[in-house]
Point group: C2
Chain length 510, copies 2
Amino acid sequence: MSPTTLPAAYDSLLAHSRQRKFLEGTAAILSWDQETMMPPGGVEFRGDQLAQLAALGHRMTVEPQVGEWLDRADQAMAGRLPEDAPERVNLREWRRDREKAMKLPESLVEELAKVTSVAQHEWAEARRHSDFARFRPWLEKILELNRRKAECLGWNRAGGEPWDALADLYEKGMTATQVEAVFTPLERRLKDLVARIVGAPRRPGDRFDRLELPEAQQEAFVRFAARAIGFDFERGRLDRSTHPFCGGSHRGDVRITTRFKPSLALDALGSTMHECGHAIYEQGLPAEHLGTPMGEATSLAVHESQSRLWENQVGRSREFWQWMTPRLREFFGAAVDGIDAEEMHGCANRVSPGFIRVEADEATYNLHVMIRFDLERRMLRGDLAVADLPAAWNARYQNLLGVTVPDDRRGCLQDVHWSMGAMGYFPTYTLGNLIAAGLFEAVKRDLPEVPAMFARGEFAPLREWLHAKVHAHGRRHDAATLHRLVTGREVSADPLLRYLEGKLLPLHGL
Amino acid sequence: MSPTTLPAAYDSLLAHSRQRKFLEGTAAILSWDQETMMPPGGVEFRGDQLAQLAALGHRMTVEPQVGEWLDRADQAMAGRLPEDAPERVNLREWRRDREKAMKLPESLVEELAKVTSVAQHEWAEARRHSDFARFRPWLEKILELNRRKAECLGWNRAGGEPWDALADLYEKGMTATQVEAVFTPLERRLKDLVARIVGAPRRPGDRFDRLELPEAQQEAFVRFAARAIGFDFERGRLDRSTHPFCGGSHRGDVRITTRFKPSLALDALGSTMHECGHAIYEQGLPAEHLGTPMGEATSLAVHESQSRLWENQVGRSREFWQWMTPRLREFFGAAVDGIDAEEMHGCANRVSPGFIRVEADEATYNLHVMIRFDLERRMLRGDLAVADLPAAWNARYQNLLGVTVPDDRRGCLQDVHWSMGAMGYFPTYTLGNLIAAGLFEAVKRDLPEVPAMFARGEFAPLREWLHAKVHAHGRRHDAATLHRLVTGREVSADPLLRYLEGKLLPLHGL
């Protein structure tokens, strides 16, 4: 069966899928606009607009015609094309998306979109004033809607829980039990590693990160880095927002944001490299499959593996700083005189248990994720009331990271996710870290020169390898399969721990 | 009949109208984004998105249910509420919008949206390189689609022409014959006025406008002016674009753009005041009628009257400069030393026939509009081929303004309108000028102190008068009726000519 003999039903599905993609892209631009451009007066109306688009998209997905096309195309193509042919992959994923959507009533989809659009604004205000009471009713509403959503989607009643139903939307097949099985030993090993480092005889200096560097200089610096690693500004933008993110409508228009603080140029760099990792994935999705599942990212964990790999395995490597350090003077002038690549490498890899996830070092980062997983799981099960969240949050931080959370702004109000309605999402961050470490071992096996190339500012070989191994496949493989195919191994904690110990212990004189 | 006893059909129409407004607002944000933010890689996809939204909006408008609701609500309300009650106005305008939409096949709506989205990009590129050949096939396509559109909408076969059908979409009831009847004497009187001024013994100096003023200073200056006259930045934004415009989704999110050149701070100010006039109208539409015709601007000519009034009757007045001139130093430092209010007033009112409409002074501006009206009318009638447009354009400029157009960039490629598919639109600019002059005579009759207040930076009384007389009425009255109700007279050229002669002749020693 050649593409010229594809059944008419498949063509109908293609056209339909592209229409859905246009609508999703429209919603994505409106969401980006809301975080970066929209004046305060737009909040309420924007919520209505996003709710409308969500409802229209949902209605389009569940149209009965689509079910008929899927059945006809399946019949015509099964057995005549291999399972991993793009057309079969598209059919499989269209069906999966549709089956999920069919379980959700349009009114719930619409209500979630409307509530979360306004809740994001309320969350931002609550966070600004460290006022949990302001956000509490919104979180309660979102929790209630998510519980209803989980009920609609369904989960394994023998041993499963509501969290699983939501998580499956972000990561195919991910369950709380599975996550727990990975997290429990990882937690122990990371706590040990952090304890060793905190008690270490040597700490890298933080001189660069204490410099007050003008925002305009920081911006030129991060734009240079973004361009160097391969973010395509002809097909994207870089702006500012409170919470950095990667959005946009499709591979031709990918929009990332970052943020700047008076000092902490490394925070801006890290955020930018992170979002560039997401963006390079999006910009690298196959053009010929635009508007179909084969042209979409496969999972949040794989997405996060891309962002973390560029942020950490690249942006916190010794070789990266061998390349970048001599260039710092172009951006920051005499302020950086006397800082060498060794010092920068150390500065970029300081370990310090804190209370802010997005500022966390690589050793403590996953501990932050574990706390969120635990708390949202308990809230969804009904074991933790929203009113008790701040106390539970603070207790977990004391226990796991040994820090006293000073206020809710720097505690349970720090993340945007729950206000966006996203529960079951956080563990994909840690899975992404595990996959990033696995992929980085694999690229060093395939192309041993890659890290040395960073020292010469050569990032294209890594990017092209990622493109061939990950980006070009769209949704062909789920995260676990993709990892197995590329690395030859199952996802596990070992590559991440090897990588962290190999880098962090020597830096701390261990 | 009180609002609590409105028929159920009316409530259905209200909900439906709000949904349409959300969708229109979404398209407006995407269009704004396209002009201000979108990277080049988004062009094609954005065209598809806008086409989809146009088709969805069209489909929503023509739903058979809507016709039934309209009939039922009309029956229930006619004779029980006065004709100008908000509910009756809404019914009348919903019906009008629907009848227009019913005449247009969805495929044509979609094609126009798609073609014009890409054509705007092609126009921008063609203009940049003064390359009419690049734009020509797009203009031919747009002309062809507009002819089909006019055929669908229909026009008076006895004495009318295709232009009328298109113009009616922008200005209820406007026909080419009517416009011609206003334009012919106006052309003669303006040509005389311009000839007298060009041959005058004295010319105001242009010292301020020749200063090279940094863009950041110009931006602070125009933002100050925008805020002073009443643009609400909590419910809007100011950005940059090649062609200044006013967009946004609704009264809570109104977005204007301006542009900056190395010198010509008055150009940036004029553009900003102009777009602020549009924006103050939009921001002033009645909140309680948001999402219905009573919450929408009534016509393009009235819209333009608001922008021109703030740009010219306010921003080019002696009193405005008495207030603003002492403040120039805050923005531009010593560069403006020694410039007094009289000099600024003169500088803002220099008359000089040129080839760029948006840079034209008030005396020549309407001559530019007349050329466009004439040419688009002839193209629509089939009397002028697109290929012959540049020559016809240049000949008319030579004849009417006495200037030799140097290239198509500064000739027939200068305006965005045709690339947006807008034909039948230009005359609303001149009608807007006539209405602005009529309204300004009326406000001076009602509140004789208003001009003197400008000298103290007091713009709220004018704004509130406009709000009560114009903005608060939404689409209750068409342009001609509104003008008659507010001024007691029909729209005519007299107020504009009185205003121009009264201001410009003395400034030129006449």
